[in-house]
Amino acid sequence: MTATVAVLGANLCGWIAAAALARRLPRESYRVVVIDDGTSGDGLGDFAPVIAVPPALAGFHADLGLDAATLVRMTGGGHALGVAFGGWRADGAAAFLSYGETGAPLEGIAFHQLAGRLRAAGHPVRLADHALSAVAAQAGRFAPGAPIAHALHLPVVPYEALLRGAALRAGAERASADFVDAEIAANGIVERLTLADGTAVQPWLVLDCSGTDARIASRTSPASEDWSGWLPCDRTHAETVPAQGAPPPYTQVDAQDTGWTATWPLDGADVRLTCSVGGTGKPFRAARRVEAWRGNCVALGAAAGLLEPLHPTGLTLLLRSLAQLIQLWPAGPQAPVEAAAFNRTAAGALEGARDFLIAHYAVAGCAGALWDDRRAVSLPGPLAAKHDLFAARGRLPMYDNEPFEEEDWAVMFDAMGLMPRRYDARADIVPLAAIERHLAVQRARVIAQVRALPPYAQAMAALRARA
C-alpha cells in the first residue's frame, strides 16, 4: 500500500515541495499528489508576477536538471548580483548588498574590521567596492555561468511551469480536480480531502502550500503570531512597465514615505512592487503560524509565515523546511516529536529572517513619520543584542538556525549607515600599510575580474540567441 502525500496548492510553492519530495520518496511507498486550491496565487505571498530566487536554490535546481541559464532563457527572466538600496541612508548615498562575498579577511580579522581600522585612520572605505558582485553590478557587466554568486529574477508563471514539469517527471501526480474541502477528525488528523469532481484523496500527510489562506493549516493549527508591530507594511501593489535599454543585473529598492518600491528588471520590462503601510494594493500582514506542523498537516511557504519581500527569504525558508522535513520524515499521522523539532527549527529560521528585515528599518536614515516610528520601536531581544554589539564593535551574536550569516549582517548594517564605534582590537596588530596593501590587491583583482566580463545586455542577447 502506498501512502499519499497531498500537496495543497498547484502553485510555485506546491510544485517546489512536490519536486523536492518526489525525488526523495520511494515511489513504491509514497504517492505525491498535488491538488489545485482553485486560486492563482504562488503560495509564497503573491507579491508580484516575478520572484527573486536566491543563490541558495542553485543546488535544488541542479538536482532537477535545471541550470540557471536554462531557467533564465525559458522564463524570460534575468540575473541579480545584489540589491541596490536607494534613499535609505541619511546621507543619501546608495547602499549595495551583494549576494557574494565582500572583501577577504587578513590574519583571521574580518574584512569589515580591517575597513574599520582604515576608516579610523582617515581613509574612506566602501565595503561594496571590494565585492565582486557589487562592482560587476555597478559596471553593468555579467555573463550567465560566470562564477559569481547571484540571484535570479524569474517570472512566476513560466518558472512554476518548469518546476511542475520537473516534479511530474520525478513522479509527482496532479489530482483529478480542484480542492473543495477537508474532513478533519476530532483528534486534528486530516482524513479526507474532497475534490470538485466528487472524488476524494485520503492523505497520509498534507503539505499546505495554499498561501496565507492556509486552507487546511488554518483549521488544524490556527494560532498565529502577529509581527506587524515590527513590520507594519500591509499593502503591496505590483505593476509591469515597459523599460528601455539594457536591464541592469541587480534589484533596485527605493525608500518611500510609506514603505519602499522594488524594481525587478526583465528583458524589455520592469516589474515594480510597492510595499507600504496603508494605501492601495493587496492587503497582507507579517505573521508566523505558531506550529507549522501539527497532526498530519505541515504548512509551508506563506501558509507557515509571511514576510515582506525586501529580500528573497520566502524561497530560502521553504527550501530549508523541505530539507528539514526529509530529515524528520514521519512514520505515521501522529508525529509529535518530529513536529516539535521541525517547529523549533522553522521558528528560528523565520525569526532570523524577520530580524534581518526589521534591522533595515531600525537603522535606515530616511525622513518621515513611518521611519521615525521604525527607529523608535523596541526591537526583539536577539536583534537588539545584534544591533548593540555591532554598533559597539562590529561583531554579531549569532543564534541557532538563522538563515543569514554574520557577514550578511555586517555588510547590511554597514551599507545602511550604522558605523561601529570601535573596530576589532586585533586589527591594530597588523601594520596599517599591510591592510592598505591587502585592500588594494583585492580591489585590483575585483576590477580585473569585472573587466573580463561582457556587458550584461550583450551576454543576455547571446543567451536568447541560443534558444
Binding site: R24, I326, A385, R393, R422, A425, R426, I429
Partner: protein, 487 residues
C-alpha cells in the same frame, strides 16, 4: 595563581600585542598539577600562538588522544569510546547511524558494531596513532585528536611563552581589592604594592577573588544534576603500552580517571560527599590503581556550576573563577581557551568599556557552560545502574528541560539536535547515547524503506575501511618516538 591584571596602554597599543599585561601570582598558593586530558580545540589555540607541536609534546610529556573510554557507565561491564570523529558518513543526506540501525535489523550479530565504523575508535583500541589526512574523500580524514599532558608543565611552557612576549609577572598575594567607579580600580598586595589596571582578568580559581569577592557576580549551583564535589588525585608509574585515549570508569559514588602521559599515569577519583566519604573514596582509588603509586594522594574540593555573569564592568573571570564542570569530558582547558578567544574578540581596545561586550561574552559563555552541563548529565542519567544510592539518584533525578527534550527526540527515532555554538557535535552525542544503551525506538522511515542488504553492505564497507586504515597506522609509542618524544 592569584589574579592576573591586564593593564591597557591607552592610545598606543604596540604592534605585537593588545595591551600591557601584568600577571600577579603567589608561589605560596599551590597549583594543581595533575595529568590533564584535553579536546581537539587546544590544537587551534596552540597553532594561534605559533607553538610547534613536536616541541610542545616533548616539553609537556604529552601523549596523543583519540577519545575517552567509558567503562561501567550504562551497565557494569560496558565499555565504549567517545571518539574525536565521525561514525561513517551521511548516505543520501540521511545520517549513517540510521543506516547502521537498519542493517542490524534481525541480525544484529552479523553487523559490525557502530564503534567499528569510527576510525578513531578502531585506532584507539589498537593502540595506534597518526595525524589525520587532509583529503576529505579518505576515511583517514574523518577524525581529530587532542593531547594528554602534565598541566604543570603546560603552565610553565605558557609562562615562558608569555614572559618572552612582554608579560610582567609579579610575585605577590592580593590582600585587598580596591573598587573604582567602573568595577575594580587596583589590587593591593600583601607587600604593599598597588597594581592598577584598565581591565582585570580573574584567574584566581574557586576563590574568585574579583568576580565574586569584589563584584558579587552570583553563582548558579548545579549540584542537583552533578553532585560530585571532590576528587582524589594520584600519579602512578606507567604499566603496559601507552594508549592514545583517556579512561573514565564509573564507580560506586562517582568515577575514576586514568590519563597516560609519557613519564607517568595521572589517576583520580571524582566523587560525591553526599554519597560516600573521602576515606572510602581514597580506598577505592588506591585499590584499583594499575601501577606503582608515585606520591601521596591529594584531595581537591569543588563546586559545580557557573557564575551568573562572567564579565562585570572591567573584570572578566576565566577558568574556575567563572565556573566548574567535572573533568569527565576534559572540558576544563577548552572552556578557559574559549573564554580567552572570546575576550580577544571583544577586547576593549580604547579602554572604554561597552556594556554590549560584556553582554555578548556572558551570553556566549553561559550557553557553552549550559550545553557542556547537559552533555555531562547525559552520562549519568543514561544508565541502567541501580546498585548504589548514588546511581539510583542519578538514574531517576529530574533533568534540565533542555536535555530532557534532546534525549526524548533521540530515544524516539534517533534525532540528534544540531546547534551553532557549543563544543559537542552530533557524533559526540551519538557516542554516548549508543554507548550507554539509549536505543531509538524507531528508525528513520525513509532509511527503513531501503533494502536491508544495501545498508549491510555500506556498513561493512565503512568498517572494513576503518580496520584497514587503522592497521596501516604506526603504534602510538612509535609515533611519539618518531617526533622525538620518549615513550
Amino acid at each position: 595563581m592569584t589574579a592576573a591584571t591586564l593593564g591597557l596602554t591607552t592610545g598606543t597599543p604596540s604592534a605585537a600585542r593588545l595591551a600591557d599585561i601584568t600577571l600577579v601570582e603567589s608561589e605560596e598558593i599551590g597549583t594543581v598539577g595533575v595529568g590533564e586530558a584535553t579536546v581537539p580545540h587546544i590544537r587551534f589555540f596552540n597553532q594561534r600562538l605559533g607553538i610547534d607541536e613536536a616541541d610542545f609534546v616533548r616539553r609537556t610529556k604529552a601523549t596523543f588522544k583519540l577519545g575517552i573510554e567509558f567503562c561501567d557507565w550504562g551497565r557494569i561491564g560496558d565499555s565504549y569510546i567517545h571518539p574525536f570523529g565521525d561514525f561513517g558518513h551521511d548516505i543520501d543526506g540521511l545520517p549513517f547511524h540510521q543506516h547502521w540501525l537498519h542493517a542490524t535489523r534481525g541480525r544484529p550479530d552479523e553487523t559490525p558494531a557502530l564503534a567499528a565504523c569510527s576510525l578513531p575508535i578502531v585506532a584507539a583500541r589498537a593502540g595506534r596513532f597518526t595525524p589525520p589526512l587532509d583529503d576529505p574523500r579518505s576515511v583517514g580524514s574523518t577524525y581529530s585528536y587532542a593531547y594528554q599532558f602534565d598541566a604543570g608543565l603546560y603552565a610553565a611552557y605558557l609562562r615562558d611563552y608569555a614572559e618572552a612576549r612582554g608579560v610582567t609577572r609579579i610575585e605577590g598575594r592580593v590582600e585587598h581589592v580596591e573598587r573604582g567607579p567602573s568595577g575594580i580600580a587596583a589590587l593591593r598586595l600583601a607587600d604593599g604594592q598597588r597594581i592598577e589596571g584598565d581591565l582585570f582578568v580573574d584567574c584566581s580559581g574557586f576563590r574568585a577573588l574579583l568576580i565574586e569577592g569584589a563584584l558579587k557576580a552570583g553563582h548558579q549551583d548545579w549540584a542537583h544534576w552533578l553532585p560530585c564535589d571532590a576528587a582524589w588525585a594520584v600519579p602512578t608509574a606507567n604499566t603496559g603500552p601507552l594508549v592514545p585515549y583517556t579512561r573514565a570508569t564509573a564507580r560506586d559514588a562517582g568515577w575514576q580517571w586514568r590519563i597516560p602521559l609519557q613519564h607517568r599515569t595521572g589517576n583520580g577519583l571524582v566523587f560525591s560527599t553526599r554519597f560516600t566519604d573521602p576515606e572510602r573514596a581514597r580506598a577505592v582509588l588506591l585499590d584499583t590503581l594499575e601501577g606503582e603509586v608515585l606520591a601521596e594522594p591529594r584531595m581537591l574540593r569543588f563546586r559545580t556550576g557557573r557564575r551568573h555573569r562572567q564579565w562585570i564592568d572591567n573584570c572578566v573571570a576565566i577558568g574556575l573563577s567563572a565556573g566548574f564542570l567535572e573533568p569527565l569530558e576534559s572540558t576544563s582547558i577548552h572552556l578557559i581557551q574559549l573564554a580567552i578567544g572570546k575576550l580577544i574578540e571583544l577586547f576593549p581596545n580604547d579602554a572604554v568599556l561597552d556594556p554590549a561586550d560584556a553582554a555578548e561574552f556572558n551570553r556566549a559563555m553561559a550557553l557553552e557552560y549550559d550545553r557542556v552541563r547537559d552533555f555531562l548529565v547525559l552520562h549519568y542519567c543514561a544508565t541502567e545502574r541501580d546498585d548504589t544510592p548514588f546511581w539510583r539518584h542519578m538514574r531517576t533525578m529530574d533533568l534540565p528541560p533542555s536535555l530532557a527534550v534532546k534525549i526524548a527526540a533521540f530515544r524516539d527515532r534517533g534525532i540528534v539536535e544540531q546547534y551553532r555554538e557549543g563544543m559537542f557535535l552530533p557524533a559526540s552525542w551519538l557516542a554516548v547515547y549508543y554507548g550507554q544503551r539509549i536505543m531509538p525506538e524507531r528508525i528513520h522511515p525513509l532509511v527503513a524503506a531501503l533494502p536491508v542488504a544495501d545498508a549491510r553492505a555500506r556498513v561493512a564497507a565503512v568498517a572494513d575501511a576503518c580496520r584497514r586504515t587503522a592497521e596501516g597506522m604506526p603504534t602510538h609509542a612509535d609515533y611519539l618516538a618518531r617526533i622525538g618524544a620518549a615513550a
